[in-house]
Amino acid sequence: MCRMVLPGGAHSGVSQLRRGILQFCVLALLRDGERYAFELVRELCEAHGLATSEGTIYPLLARLRKEGWVSTVWKESDSGPPRRYYTLTATGRRALAEFASEWGSFKAAVDTLLDSEESHE
């Protein structure tokens, strides 16, 4: 469900790639508004298969907080203790926009190479 299994050496390369990209996926999830931490983590892990386990997202969130790309706010909950919500900051929004523009050309270049490899086979 959450874990991706890839053969041999591809695993470490993809996990590094995923690690670098995951932070921008967090920002992307926050683009449309604040998110409850638990939901954010679960959605990242479940819907996109981007993380190896839910717990490993929390260190990343802490780094994003430190970076000033996201901020947190406590909100009262009807059914339990206060909940921590994450919001995208202006700096985070800029970082996301920068990444999005880079990602387009990056993805296109990789796709072109992969496609040409396939056509050779």
């Binding site: 469900m1 959450c2 690690r19 670098g20 409850y36 931490a37 638990f38 983590v41 679960r42 892990c45 190896t52 386990s53 839910e54 717990g55 490993t56 929390y58 260190p59 990343l60 969130l61 802490a62 780094r63 994003l64 907080r65 430190k66 970076e67 059914s79 339990g80 203790p81 909940r83 921590r84």
Partner: protein
């Protein structure tokens, strides 16, 4: 049922505590709190308080060692990755031992300790043993050397003997039993932490001491 659920959570948190002793204290506490919130939210979402639901939430959360590894292996450029500060560690570990002792039986899972921290306790112990061994060899050597020089030329004493005489006022210190063991011990004890007293040091030197 609730007791079993709580035990699962307690054990998980204990595993986290064991795996995260090398994190900065404030960051460790913060991360622990986030994990706890996640567990609560997961149980709330599952709308079930039985052990199976708890186990599922904990499984999705992943091994505590992975969480700590993510904390240690993340990109350093943000400056938020806690620095592993060795001098702080000894102090950090001391109060944590109290909580860890309570459920030390839980620590049977070897995967709980991340790569970096797992190396340090054995290394520390190894260094301590090495120092103790060196001190014992030093003490025995000093004793032997002291006996041989005593019979020959009492004026030409080695620096080791000088150190011993500084501890014991009498020049025939090797027969006073205690000072020869005391001097090397004092030389080496500042380095290792105090959790391993230098009892083994006394073993090699005890026979000559008690014998005389």
């Amino acid at each position: 049922m609730t007791t079993r659920r709580n035990r699962l959570i307690d054990e998980y948190l204990q595993r986290f505590d064991n795996a995260s002793v090398f994190l900065a204290a404030d960051r460790r506490e913060e991360l622990r709190q986030e994990i706890l919130e996640h567990i609560d939210a997961g149980l709330e979402e599952a709308d079930a308080l039985h052990a199976a639901a708890t186990r599922a939430v904990l499984d999705r959360l992943g091994p505590p060692a992975d969480i700590v590894a993510a904390e240690l292996n993340g990109p350093r450029s943000t400056g938020s990755t806690p620095v592993v500060e060795l001098p702080v560690l000894a102090a950090d570990m001391a109060p944590k031992h109290e909580t860890n002792d309570r459920a030390s039986h839980v620590r049977q899972t070897p995967d709980d300790v991340p790569a970096l921290p797992v190396a340090s306790p054995p290394i520390r112990k190894g260094v301590t043993l090495l120092l103790i061994g060196a001190a014992a060899a030093f003490a025995v050597g000093a004793l032997t050397f002291g006996v041989s020089t005593d019979s020959g030329d009492p004026q030409q004493q080695s620096p080791a003997i000088v150190e011993e005489t500084s501890m014991s006022p009498s020049p025939s210190g090797e027969s006073d039993s205690e000072p020869p063991t005391g001097a090397p011990t004092d030389d080496t004890t500042p380095v290792p932490p105090s959790d391993e007293p230098s009892e083994p040091l006394y073993d090699p030197t005890a026979p000559p001491s008690s014998g005389s």
